[in-house]
C-alpha cells in the first residue's frame, strides 16, 4: 500500500490503517524488540508502540520514513522497558543470568572435537550472540541484518552518524572477538 495513503489513514484514526500497519510492520518491529529485549515483553512493547503511534501520529511530518519513525518509537519503548525491568526485577535478571550460564555449552577446545564437529553448534552460536550487549545486538541487527543505512540508524537511535559508526564498529569487533574466543573464526 502507498505509504502516504497509509499515513493519512493513521492520522484520521482509521482502524483499517492500523490493521495494515500491523500486518506490514509488526513482524519487523517485533524482530527489533526481540533483538533488544530478548523473548520477554515483545507483545507488550508492540502494543505500546501502536498506542504511541495512535497518540502521536499527528506529530509525524513525514521527514523520515514511516519505518524509521516506528523503529524509533519501538527502541524508545524498549529502553523504557529495560529501565523498568532493571529497576523492578533485579532478582529476575539474576535468575535469567544464571539460567544462561546453565544452558551455555562450553566451546570446543580440542582439535579432535573440532575435526568431528567442524563447526560449533548452532545453540553455541546463539549463546555467543546472546552475550552481546543489547545496544550492540540492536546495531548489528539494524545494519547487518535489516540493511539500514547509517543515517536511518542515526535517526532511529537519535544519535549522530559518527557515533553510530563508531559504536557499530565496536559492536562488530566485540562479536568477532566472541566468535574468536570460541574458535569459530580467526
Amino acid at each position: 500500500m502507498d505509504e502516504k495513503k497509509l499515513i493519512d489513514g493513521l492520522k484520521k484514526k482509521k482502524v483499517w490503517a492500523y490493521e495494515v500497519l500491523y500486518d506490514e510492520y509488526a513482524p519487523r518491529l517485533g524482530s527489533v524488540v526481540k533483538s533488544y529485549l530478548g523473548y520477554d515483553d515483545v507483545e507488550d512493547v508492540i502494543q505500546e508502540v501502536f498506542i504511541k503511534v495512535f497518540k502521536n501520529v499527528k506529530k509525524f511530518r513525514g521527514d523520515a520514513k514511516l519505518s524509521t519513525w516506528l523503529y524509533r518509537i519501538a527502541v524508545n519503548v524498549c529502553k523504557d522497558t529495560l529501565v523498568k525491568r532493571k529497576r523492578n526485577n533485579e532478582f529476575l535478571t539474576d535468575f535469567r543470568e544464571s539460567e544462561d550460564k546453565v544452558t551455555f555449552e562450553p566451546p570446543a577446545t580440542t582439535n579432535v572435537f573440532r575435526e568431528v564437529m567442524d563447526e560449533i553448534s548452532f545453540e553455541e552460536l546463539m549463546s555467543v550472540v546472546a552475550k552481546l550487549a543489547e545496544d550492540d545486538r540492536l546495531l548489528i541487527k539494524l545494519r547487518d541484518i535489516d540493511d539500514l543505512s547509517y543515517e536511518e540508524i542515526a535517526d532511529i537511535l537519535d544519535k549522530p552518524v559518527g557515533t553510530v559508526k563508531s559504536r557499530l564498529h565496536y559492536a562488530r569487533k566485540r562479536l568477532k572477538e566472541l566468535l574468536e574466543e570460541v574458535g569459530y573464526i580467526g
Binding site: V15, Y22, V32, V129, L179
Partner: protein
C-alpha cells in the same frame, strides 16, 4: 583480518569476489553468527496480539466520545438532583436541650405532653441558666404535682395546651 577492511567488507564497499580466501572464511563465520542473530530475532506476531492491539486502538478512538458521554450524564444527573432537592426540602431547625429531652421521653403520653409544655415554658425563661440542674428540678416539681394531686402546690398548670 584488518579491522578497517573487515568493516568495509561488511559495509559492502569491497565486493565479495575480490576477497581473499582467508577473508572469505572469516566472513563466513561472521555471517553464520549473523544468521544465528537473525534466528534469535525472528518474530511472527500472533492473531491474538493483532486482535488485542486493534481493540486497544478502537478503545482509544472511542475514548473522547465515552468521556463526553460520561460528562453529559453527570451533568444531567447533577441538574436533576439540584432541581429535585430544591423543590422537596424540609427545613429542620435545631431546638434547645430541654425540647430534645422531652422528645426522648416520648410524645404520646399525656404526662409528657404536659411536661413538654412546662419544659418549653421553662426553657424560654431560663435559657442561660444551669440547664441540667434546673431541668431536673422542674421535672421533679411537675411529676410531684401530678402524682400528689391532694397536696396543694404553688405550681400553675393553667398554661397546658391540649392542642399542642
Amino acid at each position: 583480518m584488518d579491522e578497517e577492511r573487515f568493516v568495509r567488507i561488511l559495509d559492502r564497499e569491497i565486493p565479495f569476489d575480490k576477497l581473499r580466501v582467508d577473508e572469505k572464511k572469516e566472513l563466513k563465520g561472521y555471517v553464520k553468527a549473523l544468521g544465528a542473530l537473525k534466528e534469535i530475532c525472528c518474530y511472527r506476531p500472533s492473531d491474538e496480539l493483532k486482535k488485542r492491539t486493534l481493540s486497544n486502538v478502537r478503545k482509544l478512538k472511542s475514548r473522547p466520545y465515552r468521556i463526553l458521554g460520561t460528562v453529559a450524564a453527570c451533568l444531567v444527573l447533577g441538574i436533576f438532583s439540584v432541581s429535585f432537592f430544591t423543590g422537596n426540602t424540609i427545613l429542620i431547625k435545631k431546638k434547645g436541650e430541654l425540647y430534645q429531652l422531652a422528645n426522648v421521653l416520648g410524645s404520646s403520653s399525656t404526662l409528657n405532653e404536659r411536661l413538654r409544655v412546662n419544659l418549653n415554658a421553662f426553657a424560654q425563661d431560663e435559657v442561660e441558666g444551669n440547664d441540667l440542674v434546673m431541668m431536673e428540678k422542674e421535672m421533679e416539681r411537675s411529676l410531684g404535682f401530678l402524682s400528689e394531686s391532694a397536696v396543694e402546690s404553688d405550681f400553675e398548670i393553667s398554661g397546658i395546651s391540649t392542642t399542642y
